[in-house]
Amino acid sequence: MKTAPWLVLAGAVAGFLGVLGFHRPASANALGAAAGPTAAARASVPAAGPAASAPGARSAATPAASSRAPATAAAGRATGPIEQYGYGELTARVTVSAGRITDVQLPVIRTAEQYSQQLASQVIPLLRREVLAAQSANINAVSGATYTSQAYALSVQAALDKLHFK
C-alpha cells in the first residue's frame, strides 16, 4: 500500500499530540487527588489545619487553635507538603495523639529512578522509626550525612511545626 507510511505518520502525530494534551492536566489532578483522601480527616480537626495548602490559608484556621489547649497539639492528622526532590514525590501523614506522634505513614509514594527506589524499599521504613525516635528525643533537627530522604524528614518536620509540636 503506497499510502501506508503516510497513514502511520498521520496516526503518530495524532497520538503524540493526543497524549501530550491529555497528560498535563491529568498529573495535576493526580496531585490534587493525592491530597484528597486526607482532606476529610483534616477538615474535622481544626487544630491540624489544611497542611497541604498555601501558607496564607493556614493562618485563617489557626486563630481558633490558639484559643484551645496551647502547649500540646490535639489529636489529629496532618499531611506534610508534597515534596518534589527530583525523581519522585513524597508526602508524609503524621498522626498525633495527646501531643505525641503515634504514627507516620506515606500515603503517596511515586517513585522512579535510583534514589527513589532505594528510598521506597529500604530507607523509608527506617525513617519512620527514626522520626518517632527523634520526636521523643525532643530535638529540632537531625544532623547526618546528606541524603535525599531529607525531604521526608522535612515533611515530617513541617507537619510537626504546623501542629505546634515542640
Binding site: L7, A12, A14, F16, L17, E113, Y115
Partner: protein, 467 residues
C-alpha cells in the same frame, strides 16, 4: 484401498451439474477490506505517537539537567519505542484475518523482517543508556551500577534475560547465520521471542517513570499487551486448531501427476464451511512420524470439492519429497487459508495468468474462481512437455471461460517470455491484470518484463514458490 481413485478433475458445467446431484461448493473467502487495514495502520501510528509522547512527558526540564538526566531520558525513550515496535512485530505475524487478507502472509513477513532490527537495537540501546545514566545520577561506576540494577530493582533480572534472548534471536536471524541452521531449529529458537517479551513486561510497569504513579497509563499499556497476547492466541493458535478439529482432514489418496509431482487428496468434514478463494494456500502439518513438527505452505490446486481438498506438490526438499510417501489415513492439521493471490486482487476487467512448472497449481485454483466471462489468457512455461502438470484441467477451465492458453515448452533460450514475445502473445496487455506464479527467479523475471512493458505495479500479482 479397493475403492476407485478419487477423480478430482474439473467440476462439470452448470447444465450438467443441475442434472446430477447438486455438487456442494465451499464458499469463497471474505472479500479483503482495505479500509479496515488502513484504519489499523492509523491506529498503529497513533500508538507509536502516544508512546513517544509518554516518554517525553515523563521528564521535566530540571530532571534533564540533573546528572545523568539526558541519558536517562534517552534510555526511557528508546525503551518505550523499542517495546512498542516489538509489539507491532508480534501483531504483524499474528495472522489477524482482516489484515492478512489485505497485505498477504508474505507481505506481512516482509514487513516483519524489515522492521526487525529496530526494536532489538532500540532495546539494547535502552539498557545501555539507562545503566550509564543511572550510574551518573548515583555518582558510581557503570559496573557497580549494573550490579545494583540487577540485584536491587524488582523484575530486572528477568528483563535482562529477556533482552539477552531477544538479541540472540536477532543475531541468529542474520542471513549468514540463519542459513547454517536448519529451518526448524531456527524457527523453534525464534518462538522464544514470546517468552522474552512476556518476562520483560513487568519491569516496564514497575519501574518506568511514565507508569509509576500513573494508573491510567498502566492500565492502557497492560490492556494493549493483554490484547495482543489474546490476538496471538486466538489467531495463531486458536483459530487453526478449531479449523483443524472441525474439518478433521485426513489423507485419502496420493496421485502421481508427473515427474516428481504428486497430488495429495484429503478428506474432511464440513468443507462446505471452509471459506477459500482460488489461489490461496494453507500451512499443512501432516501428522505422520517425522513430519508432524513441521508445517509447510502449499497452495490448493483446486477449489474444495466437499468432502475433498487437493494440493499438488513437486518434491524438491525433504518435506515435499516425503509427501509422495504419505499413507492414506494420515491426519492433517491446517492453518489458513492465507494469501492475496486471488481474484479479489483483480482490478481490470481481464487477466493474464502466467505459470512455470509447479506454479500452475495456484493458477489452476485461481482459474476455477474466475467467472465464465473472464476470457483469461494463460501462459504455461515448462522445460519438457511432461512437466506440464494439470494440463488437461487447465485447458478445460480456460475453454469454459472462453480464454486462450499458450504452452511455451523448451529451454530458456528457446521459449522465453520477454519484452518481445509477451506483447505478441498478449496484445491487450495494458487492459489485463497479470498473475504470475512459479519459482522465485521466474516470477522476478516476469514481473520485470511486465513492468518494463508499462504494466503498473498494482496490476501485477505474484506468488513465488520457494524451497
Amino acid at each position: 484401498m479397493s475403492s476407485p481413485p478419487v477423480s478430482f478433475g474439473v467440476p462439470p458445467s452448470s447444465a450438467a451439474r443441475n442434472r446430477k446431484r447438486k455438487a456442494v461448493r465451499a464458499p469463497a473467502s471474505p472479500r479483503p477490506r482495505p479500509a479496515l487495514a488502513r484504519a489499523a495502520l492509523v491506529v498503529a501510528g497513533a500508538g507509536l505517537g502516544a508512546t513517544t509522547a509518554l516518554a517525553v512527558t515523563s521528564e521535566t526540564a530540571s530532571q534533564l539537567s540533573a546528572p545523568g538526566g539526558l541519558l536517562t531520558f534517552a534510555g526511557s525513550l528508546t525503551g518505550l519505542v523499542g517495546t512498542y515496535l516489538a509489539l507491532m512485530m508480534v501483531l504483524l505475524v499474528s495472522r489477524i484475518p482482516f489484515i492478512e487478507r489485505v497485505a498477504g502472509q508474505d507481505g506481512l513477513l516482509r514487513w516483519h523482517r524489515a522492521i526487525a532490527p529496530w526494536p532489538i537495537s532500540l532495546l539494547a540501546a535502552h539498557a545501555l543508556l539507562l545503566t550509564v545514566g543511572y550510574a551518573q545520577a548515583a555518582r558510581t561506576g557503570v559496573w557497580h551500577e549494573t550490579g545494583t540494577l540487577l540485584t536491587k530493582y524488582p523484575d530486572m533480572l528477568t528483563a535482562t534475560a529477556g533482552l539477552a534472548l531477544m538479541c540472540l534471536i536477532g543475531v541468529i536471524s542474520y542471513r549468514a547465520l540463519r542459513r547454517r541452521l536448519r529451518r526448524e531449529t531456527w524457527w523453534l529458537i525464534h518462538l522464544w521471542m514470546y517468552l522474552a517479551l512476556a518476562i520483560s513486561f513487568a519491569h516496564v510497569i514497575v519501574l518506568g517513570p511514565s507508569f509509576v504513579g500513573h494508573p491510567l497509563t498502566q492500565v492502557v499499556w497492560s490492556a494493549a499487551w493483554a490484547g495482543s497476547a489474546g490476538l496471538v492466541l486466538c489467531y495463531r493458535v486458536g483459530l487453526p486448531a478449531v479449523r483443524s478439529v472441525r474439518h478433521r482432514l485426513t489423507v485419502t489418496e496420493v496421485q502421481p501427476e508427473g515427474p516428481g509431482v504428486v497430488s495429495v487428496i484429503c478428506t474432511g468434514r464440513h468443507l462446505d464451511r471452509l471459506a477459500v478463494s482460488g489461489g490461496q494456500f494453507f500451512c499443512w502439518r501432516f501428522l505422520a512420524p517425522g513430519m508432524w513438527w513441521q508445517a509447510h505452505p502449499y497452495s490448493l490446486s483446486a477449489l474444495p470439492q466437499p468432502p475433498y481438498l487437493r494440493l499438488t506438490v513437486k518434491g524438491r526438499g525433504d518435506h515435499s519429497r516425503s509427501l509422495a510417501r504419505l499413507r492414506p489415513g494420515t491426519r492433517v492439521a491446517i492453518e489458513g487459508p492465507y494469501g492475496t493471490f486471488t481474484r479479489y486482487a483483480q482490478q481490470r476487467p481481464r487477466a493474464l495468468l502466467v505459470a512455470a512448472g509447479i506454479g500452475v497449481t495456484a493458477l489452476r485454483a485461481l482459474l476455477e474462481d474466475l467467472p465464465r466471462s473472464a476470457a483469461p489468457v494463460v501462459l504455461l512455461r515448462a522445460g519438457r512437455p511432461e512437466d506440464l502438470v494439470l494440463h488437461a484441467e487447465v485447458t478445460e477451465l480456460v475453454r469454459q471461460r472462453r480464454g486462450q492458453i499458450h504452452e511455451l515448452i523448451g529451454s530458456r533460450e528457446q521459449a522465453a517470455i520477454d519484452e518481445v514475445s509477451l506483447p505478441r502473445l498478449v496484445p491487450d496487455l495494458k487492459h489485463r491484470d497479470v498473475y504470475v506464479c512459479g519459482p522465485e527467479g521466474f516470477v522476478a523475471a516476469i514481473v520485470d518484463v511486465a513492468a518494463n512493458l508499462g504494466v503498473p505495479p498494482d496490476a501485477i500479482h505474484h506468488e513465488a514458490f520457494a524451497l
